[in-house]
């Protein structure tokens, strides 16, 4: 299946991506399903738990190939996470797969108590995360998951930015005897440049620069990179771009280094401006004493505008053009 035209990107943004030599990959959700099936095929101890979500999680082929390694619980997200906790406690490498909007809300108490507090090393997979479901509306958006899950002890919270990070994060999570939350979206993504070695808690330098920095997570990182290239070409600004897949624990050194080196930081995330990466960076920098000019870009505290994921990103300035403008404004240009 060929990927649909990436309407997330204007013609100008696509031209910048082409100039950078970026190639358009696949949706992270597909990479997740494929990687999980590879893992499960090689290890009969791997189990996926789904809540009528194998289709939306792209796990149809997995279910056909490995029917004994998928547990269906029906539309019951609390039970999904409770059952996953029980499976993990008896030694199964367990992936609980459900739309992020339900997983991080309907089953929040199960995540807090049965996974994190009880230290059952379940891998919680939030599918179609952020505003992937676009015009389906607020019920189907997960703009609260970072905030809700960051406030829970003993839980890694991560949002891979491209297929490389997605593949690595799934394999790392499977090997890690600890609870992990990963979120994946539905849109095809460009593979980002930069060191692809993946470790939870480490940021990835996607673009070097010392004038200003974009600190971004998940599927917003590409837009920050395009904005940095646009600013280099149009304003002579040399912007650093950090991909921060692990929202918690934060790579404090990378963020503090950016603050020390750069005059301004713009954070970008497909999440409400409250409680996510931006506020995590703000809290870190305010308490470390070095606060450059600083702006959090995300979905504001309002009823999210109706539209596709691309419409919503554009509406809130989470595109190459929007982010470049935000940075220039912040720098006082």
């Amino acid at each position: 299946m060929s990927a649909p035209a990436p309407s997330m990107y204007s013609a100008d943004a696509q031209a910048v991506a082409e100039k950078l030599g970026l190639s358009l990959g696949r949706p992270n959700l597909e990479v997740f399903a494929e990687t999980l099936q590879e893992l499960a095929a090689g290890d009969p101890n791997v189990v996926a738990v789904t809540s009528d979500s194998r289709g939306s999680g792209k796990l149809g082929p997995y279910g056909k190939a490995l029917p004994r390694q998928i547990v269906e619980v029906g539309i019951a997200e609390q039970n999904l996470v409770g059952i996953a906790a029980g499976l993990a406690s008896v030694g199964k490498t367990t992936f609980a797969v459900s739309p992020a909007c339900f997983l991080a809300a309907r089953s929040l108490e199960q995540i807090k108590n049965d996974i994190a507090y009880s230290d059952n090393p379940v891998k919680l997979i939030g599918i179609s995360a952020g505003v992937s479901y676009g015009a389906l509306g607020t019920t189907h958006h997960s703009l609260h998951d970072f905030a809700a899950l960051r406030a829970i002890n003993n839980l890694i919270v991560a949002a891979p930015a491209d297929n490389i990070e997605a593949r690595a994060s799934i394999r790392s999570a499977a090997a890690l005897p600890a609870p992990v939350y990963l979120r994946f979206g539905k849109a095809p993504l460009y593979d980002l440049p930069g060191d692809a070695d993946f470790v939870f808690g480490k940021a990835r330098l996607v673009r070097a620069g010392r004038d200003a920095a974009f600190v971004a997570t998940g599927e917003a990182v590409i837009h920050a990179l395009l904005a940095a290239e646009h600013l280099a070409a149009t304003a002579g600004l040399d912007c650093r771009v950090l991909s921060v897949p692990t929202v918690k624990p934060l790579d404090t050194k990378a963020v503090q280094d950016a603050a020390a080196d750069c005059a301004a930081i713009v954070t970008v995330e497909e999440h409400m401006v409250h409680g996510g990466l931006g506020e995590a960076c703000a809290a870190l920098l305010a308490q470390s004493g070095r606060v450059p000019k600083f702006r959090i870009v995300g979905i504001p505290d309002e009823y999210t505008v109706t539209g596709s994921q691309a419409d919503i990103f554009r509406h809130y300035g989470m595109t190459m053009e929007g982010l470049a403008t935000t940075m220039r404004t912040l720098l006082g240009d």
Binding site: R68, G74, Q78, N79, L87, S89, V90, G91, E109, D114
Partner: protein, 281 residues
């Protein structure tokens, strides 16, 4: 496993009641009524039915118990001490600053399988454990203790549906049906009856027993109730069981006895112990 006569277990139940009240009195906090209603169930599970001990607790083959009605933790802590998971004297720190004996089950305490306390969590977790046992072809059994008030939590019924769907005869739920919750009679607060019919309609094998009768509990718990179905034992119990002025009195949900009440309760239990054949204390 050491073999106990019914009288041995009756005596143990009285000793557990005594130790539970002592722990609650010392801590100045605890769920008195619900601990006393659950003690005979815990006694039969840990001393007659389950293959669980400090020696096998790290073995994947052990039976599992998850106390979903986590507030009755004092009874569980007393029973685990008697099984040798830790010295009974450690219970003196219950709820103290920096103690690992928290006021709800926690894996910081040896012998506790899962952290509980929020209601409606035990049955889903045990359903997962039982599915895992089936996937692995293991023969361990999984037990969870639910409160009757707890059954208002919808997550129980999600798990009840799944456990029957997967034919989990390695799973046994026990409902400590003491008919009282913090606000009053369960039937007045949110009526969960008829429980037996509800579980049957969900596809479970059901047995109703006197939850203080060692023999009836043994019969119901010693083996799965029916092949191919999860089992539920509806244990008709008395909240505050064993202490005349606490029995079936909702005020004792989490009331701590005064010095005079504590002395009176100990006297009742001492008298009962003296009346059990073979009593040694």
């Amino acid at each position: 496993m050491q073999t106990y006569t019914d009288d041995d277990l009756r005596r143990r139940s009285l000793e557990y009641r005594r130790d539970t009240l002592r722990a609650i009195k010392a801590a100045g906090a605890g769920h008195t009524g619900g601990s006393l209603s659950a003690i005979d169930i815990l006694n039969v599970l840990y001393n007659r039915v389950m293959r669980v001990s400090p020696e096998n607790f790290s073995s994947p083959a052990r039976d599992r118990y998850v106390q979903s009605k986590g507030h009755s933790v004092e009874a569980l802590f007393v029973v685990l001490a008697s099984k040798g998971f830790y010295p009974a004297s450690e219970l003196d720190t219950l709820c103290d600053y920096q103690s690992h004996f928290v006021g709800h089950p926690t894996r910081k305490v040896p012998g506790v399988e899962q952290n509980t306390g929020a209601l409606g969590h035990g049955l889903p977790i045990c359903t997962g454990m039982a599915i895992g046992g089936k996937l692995d072809g293991a023969d361990y059994r999984v037990f969870t203790l639910l409160g009757d008030g707890e059954l208002a939590e919808g997550s129980n019924w999600e798990a009840a549906m799944a456990a029957a769907h997967y034919g989990l005869d390695n799973l046994t739920a026990i409902v400590d049906c003491n008919t009282l919750q913090i606000t009053g009679r369960t039937r007045d607060v949110m009526n969960a009856e008829p429980l037996a019919e509800k579980f049957e309609a969900f596809g479970w094998a059901v047995r109703t027993v006197d939850g203080h009768d060692i023999g009836e509990l043994t019969d119901a718990l010693s083996a799965p109730l029916e092949a191919g179905k999860p089992g539920v034992v509806i244990a008709r119990t008395v909240k505050g069981k064993g202490i005349s002025f606490m029995e079936d009195n909702g005020a004792w949900h989490h009331k701590v006895p005064t010095d005079d009440e504590f002395a009176a309760a100990m006297a009742e239990l001492d008298a009962a112990l003296a009346g059990v054949a073979g009593a040694s204390q």
